[in-house]
């Protein structure tokens, strides 16, 4: 039950994009296109899960015993960046079909706040391994949900008559504001 609440909280109540403002660069950059958004959502979820696992192991078995927790930020960044780089090479070689589908997004998320934030939050709240994984999957799916919703809205927006100065980024922000307003309705539903 505890895991279920954590999961729901990460997906909806504390949605990473709409309540914590993480991963906005990708969120606004990619959401112009629905298919790209689905690919990006998948890529972020998987990278987030795998890198949280890796970061959990490094944090609890290397940094904590050696009293090096002040280096967490630096270690996590390098760890995730090199891990994503490695993942890209493996996928390119082993599963070219998969690579064609979302390989290009991998490099974009190598140094991204949304992927770095989950391991950092896990370390901060000293989650157990299983909890970290559940939290990472939930956060990834929450990101995917937000970006897919946004992309669908923006596809409709193409037909709309937007005032000239607001075209592009301006209207995208306002749209995200509306979406965030809708998600505010969930706030307070689960308190951790």
């Amino acid at each position: 039950m505890e895991y279920f609440t954590l999961f729901i909280s990460a997906v909806i109540v504390n949605n990473f994009v709409l309540t914590k403002f993480l991963g906005l660069c990708i969120f606004f950059g990619v959401s112009k296109n629905l298919n790209a958004s689905i690919g990006m959502g998948m890529a972020v979820t998987s990278v987030m899960t795998l890198s949280s696992m890796l970061a959990w192991v490094v944090y609890n078995f290397v940094l904590v015993p050696l009293n090096l927790t002040f280096m967490t930020t630096a270690v996590f960044v390098l760890l995730i960046a090199s891990f994503v780089q490695l993942l890209e090479m493996i996928i390119k070689k082993q599963a070219p079909a998969l690579y064609n589908m979302w390989g290009i997004y991998l490099l974009l998320i190598a140094t991204n706040c949304v992927v770095l934030a989950v391991p950092l939050l896990n370390a901060e709240s000293s989650f157990s391994f299983l909890k970290s994984v559940v939290y990472a999957v939930g956060s990834g799916l929450g990101f995917a949900l937000a970006i897919i919703l946004m992309a669908s809205l923006r596809e409709k927006l193409r037909l709309a008559d937007v005032p000239k100065p607001l075209e592009g980024l301006g209207i995208a922000f306002i749209l995200a504001g509306m979406l965030a307003l809708a998600f505010t309705g969930f706030s307070g539903m689960i308190t951790l």
Binding site: L18, T19, K20, F21, L22, G23, L24, C25, F28, F70, M71, T72, T73, A74, V77, L78, A81, S82, T111, N112, C113, L116, A117, L120, L121, E124, P163, P165, L166, L169, G170, I171, A172, F173, I174, L175, A176, G177, M178, A180, L181, T184
Partner: protein, 207 residues
């Protein structure tokens, strides 16, 4: 001297990191619910970007281009850790308020972008001013958003009430939704402003 001023100025207006380049948006929303956190974040980023530009520029002839990105990231991460430790020691409350976003300065696209685009190709002094200019533009943008959100959402600036009791604060401005919508309009406004300025310049050219 004129040149350095131009480098500085470009970061503040023409290439404002937030409103024009739309880089590093996460902090622009996350920490701007009040003016003081916005200012701290802006100054931290200004310090990191300037220090990193200097480091990258100093080492630009020593670093093999093939490994430049990991080198930049290591340098940025070191400087950010420094800022974290300093804030934790001297301003623990602000450190708490900024929370995870302080650590996330490491992955701000703007810092890596300046290192790659400017500092890796220029000598130390112009790089220093480039970092300072970009940092100032960033800080001013954050401060602007922070002041508007705090003023409308809580009726105060830097925690000092400026609007009387008659004002009923609009809570939405402090919520995430208000931040998104405000930035949307600010981006639009900035676009109008730069277009207007270009028109004025063009007219001057004709005369």
């Amino acid at each position: 001297m004129k040149n350095l001023w131009d480098i500085f100025k470009k970061g503040v207006i023409v290439e404002n990191p937030i409103f024009v380049l739309a880089l590093s948006l996460c902090p622009a929303l996350a920490v701007t619910a009040s003016a003081i956190t916005a200012l701290t974040m802006g100054l931290s980023v200004m310090f990191v970007i300037t220090a990193n530009n200097v480091v990258v520029s100093l080492t630009r002839k020593l670093v093999n281009p093939k490994v430049r990105v990991p080198v930049y990231i290591t340098s940025i991460a070191t400087i950010v850790t420094l800022v974290q430790l300093l804030l934790q020691a001297f301003a623990p409350e602000l450190y708490k308020a900024l929370g995870i976003y302080l650590a996330l300065i490491v992955v701000f696209a703007i810092i890596l972008a300046r290192a790659e685009v400017f500092a890796s190709k220029n000598s130390v002094i112009p790089s220093f001013f480039d970092g300072l200019g970009m940092g100032t533009g960033f800080t001013l943008a954050l401060l602007l958003i922070g002041c508007i959100r705090e003023l409308l959402g809580a009726g105060s600036i830097f925690g000092i009430p400026v609007i009387g009791d008659w004002y009923d604060p609009a809570l939405i401005m402090i919520l995430p939704a208000g931040g998104f919508i405000l930035i949307g309009y600010l981006v639009g406004g900035f676009k109008m402003l730069t277009e207007y300025m270009e028109k004025v310049e063009a007219k001057k050219g004709d005369a």
